[in-house]
């Protein structure tokens, strides 16, 4: 599956032109958290049921698969998807009802998919502004995590990508 990236998204949904193949492509790695979400979406998409929900799940998984395997590694530092503080350095894309968050390292040619999460179904599931502010207070926490990861994946001068 990885050798042949998919180009198709949801039925009838345009997914854009195939980006040029880079001679030094990014490696895509999933965290255990995003892996669990990815696998759960896959399991739903291959369900034997012919219900509308299954068809939607199939289309949604194709969108995510396309984003993770093709769109994001083609340009992982695309400014259109950049997050601000406290998550500056991370990126986030909306695909259907799903949000994908990742970090990348240009020199290490690595993309780490942090999370794959469904958007809240209703306003009742959304946190209010006070909660947002309390999250913002934790700004240093996220920032340090991203900077630490960037430092760890910086290749040594004589390192080569396998």
């Amino acid at each position: 599956m990885a050798e042949k990236p998919t180009r198709h998204g949801a039925a009838g949904a345009p997914t854009g032109a195939t980006p040029p193949v880079s001679p030094n492509p990014y490696r895509v790695i999933l965290t255990a958290t995003s892996q669990a979400a990815y696998e759960a979406m896959y399991a739903l998409s291959v369900s034997e049921s012919a219900s509308a929900a299954t068809k939607n799940a199939h289309a949604e998984f194709r969108l995510i698969e396309d984003a993770v395997q093709r769109l994001i590694p083609a340009n992982p530092a695309d400014k259109r998807y950049a997050l601000g503080e406290p998550l500056a350095g991370a990126f986030r894309m909306q695909r259907g009802h799903t949000r994908i968050c990742w970090i990348s390292n240009q020199r290490g040619r690595l993309v780490v998919i942090l999370s794959i999460v469904k958007a809240p179904k209703s306003e009742a599931d959304v946190k209010d502004a006070d909660e947002i502010l309390s999250r913002l207070v934790k700004a240093g926490f996220y920032k340090n995590d991203i900077e630490e990861w960037q430092r760890l994946v910086e290749p040594s001068p004589d390192a080569t990508i396998q």
Partner: protein
Amino acid sequence: MPMVEDFPTIDPSVRHIGVSKLRGLNADKLRETEDTFVIQDNDKPLAVLLTYDKFLAMQEKIRSVVNVVDLLRNPAEVAAIESAFADVAAGRLKPIETISEELKKGRG
């Protein structure tokens, strides 16, 4: 202690000009200037003229902030991000090729 917002700020790159001065802004001058112009008529601000790059930078900044607020409003996504950083720190990472291969095998 006063907040930063309590101090008046002056941005010397912002220039207030009358509408009539617009005629003097040709392509060469616009290319050279980094200034932002507040176009006024009888001291009443009517429009703002800024470089294309500045506009794009502002647009990116706004988009990045809106994107963060949208993320922070979703408790499930915040929890996932925190869990993901713990995964990164603990080395709980797997290449997409391996995951795809495992899914394919599991299905077969």
